[in-house]
Amino acid sequence: MLIRNRPDIVPSEITSRQVYEGRRAFVRNLGRAAFAAAVPAVPAWAQPGPKLAGVKASTYSTIEKPTPYKDVTTYNNFYEFGTDKGDPVQYAKTLKARPWSVVVEGAVKKPRTFAIEDLLKLAGMEERVYRMRCVEGWSMVIPWTGYPLAELIRQVEPAGNAKFVEFITLADKAQMPGLHVPALAWPYVEGLRMDEAMHPLTLLTFGVYGELLPNQNGAPVRLAVPWKYGFKSGKSIVKIRFTEQMPQTSWNRAAPQEYGFYSNVNPAVDHPRWSQATERRIGEDGFFQKKRQTLPFNGYADQVASLYAGMDLKKLF
């Protein structure tokens, strides 16, 4: 049975981030005012992006405490900007999120190229506070903004032979310095089975914390698939392709024995080199705490376990 607690207000509105993050600058400026020189030094991550308007709260949101904005936007895996988790915030400034368009092609009746402005207006925006579990054993709680990918899929009318959806990330060396290192096969490719892509939890994501996505989080458009390991949610998407064959994803090509196509969060299936039974929640779990248990499908089993009925998830990891 699904028990949903409907949140009354969008969590990110409880305390406006600008007000919260600006508190030190505010105090500092009071002092500086005496010298008539009020220039607050705000670090790059704290510069607020444009707000998304008309965002509704969602029943799919968790009531867990969101991970601080600073952690969400400075600790990223986005290999196109370097393999260190501090690299994206540092080097993603060169990414040009405008103009941007997303090509939708393949086994669809109405293939189309969407300008990002049109995508933003395609359906009503919702805030979805999702758990995010990284394959490396850490997790966050992130308030994403977007709408179900299903809304877009319905517009292009998939053909009968469309079994999978492939998501391709931008690969432009001029904008992405990490591409010079052959860490993965570029462009970054991810994929979902059709029913996974149509699932209401699968979010086409444009914002985080009520603002447009910062570059390092996959601007201007990315996926958020909360029951799968983080790498399944492609960032800075330029192409969505409907296929009959299972897509060859970048991580699967790099190490097939370590990263399967499905990559559902599963504490019972260890990564060959480390355990997936537990995780550390960023910004919450301290030195004197045992790591928390990882839940099957990252705690979304009620909603998604039925998609995999009859499948041996130890083999199809």
């Binding site: 600073k70 952690d71 400075t74 600790y75 290999y79 393999t83 988790k85 501090g86 490396e136 850490w138 290192v181 860490a183 993965l184 790099a254 260890d270 080199r273 480390w274 355990s275 550390r280 960023i282 910004g283 030195f287 705490q289 045992k290 790591k291």
Partner: protein, 206 residues
């Protein structure tokens, strides 16, 4: 004062400075832990940092003999024990983070990890091999064992360095640049030794 033959007082003073400098990585971690300055994932940073510094001190220890031979500064050998013990010290810190932060003293889980995951297995083996070296690092133990046996035992540091690099190599997800750098250093330092041994054998054969 000459670099070839510094006075005992100078050697002692330099040693004291090196001792303090070698403690700085630990000081940084402890201070950072108390001031919340270790980034988003402090426990991962501590684990990585202690592991990296173990490798650094292993490399320094292994570099002293070639450096001494090449430069003729024989006093460099006076710092070998200290750096070797720092390698052991940071390895012990690294192991503590594994036992504490990763497994929270769950012995069964730790043991399972050691047996099941090759990168943990080699890392644990390297740590075990370091223990007898640390124990027999004193002058008294050196005397008791005798120079020949002591030296034979302490040659295992070559294997330890290889295991240490392997531990790092197998742990990295994709970008092997960092482990490759350590591998290069260790291979060079061990290669130099092999080369010299080869030269020595040739000279003896003549």
């Amino acid at each position: 004062m000459s670099l070839r033959q510094p006075s005992p007082a100078t050697i002692g003073r330099v040693k004291a400075i090196l001792f303090v400098v070698s403690l700085l990585p630990l000081v940084r971690l402890v201070a950072g832990a108390f001031t919340d300055a270790l980034g988003t994932n402090p426990l991962e940073l501590i684990t990585r940092s202690t592991g990296t510094w173990t490798l650094v001190f292993l490399c320094i220890t292994l570099a002293l003999t070639p450096a001494r031979k090449l430069s003729g500064w024989h006093w460099l050998a006076r710092y070998r024990r200290m750096f070797g013990l720092f390698a052991f010290f940071y390895a012990a810190c690294h192991f503590t983070t594994f036992v504490w932060f990763d497994h929270f003293f769950d012995v069964a889980a730790i043991w399972k990890d050691v047996l099941k995951r090759p990168f943990v297995t080699v890392g644990f083996a390297a740590l075990l091999l370091l223990v007898p070296l640390a124990i027999t690092s004193t002058n008294g133990m050196m005397r008791r064992l005798g120079a020949r046996r002591w030296q034979a035992l302490h040659r295992s540091v070559h294997l330890i360095a290889i295991l240490g690099v392997l531990h790092y190599w197998w742990l990295v997800k994709r970008d092997l640049t960092q482990p490759a750098l350590y591998a290069l250093v260790v291979v060079t330092l061990l290669g130099v030794r092999l080369y010299w041994r080869h030269l020595g054998r040739k000279a003896a054969a003549i």
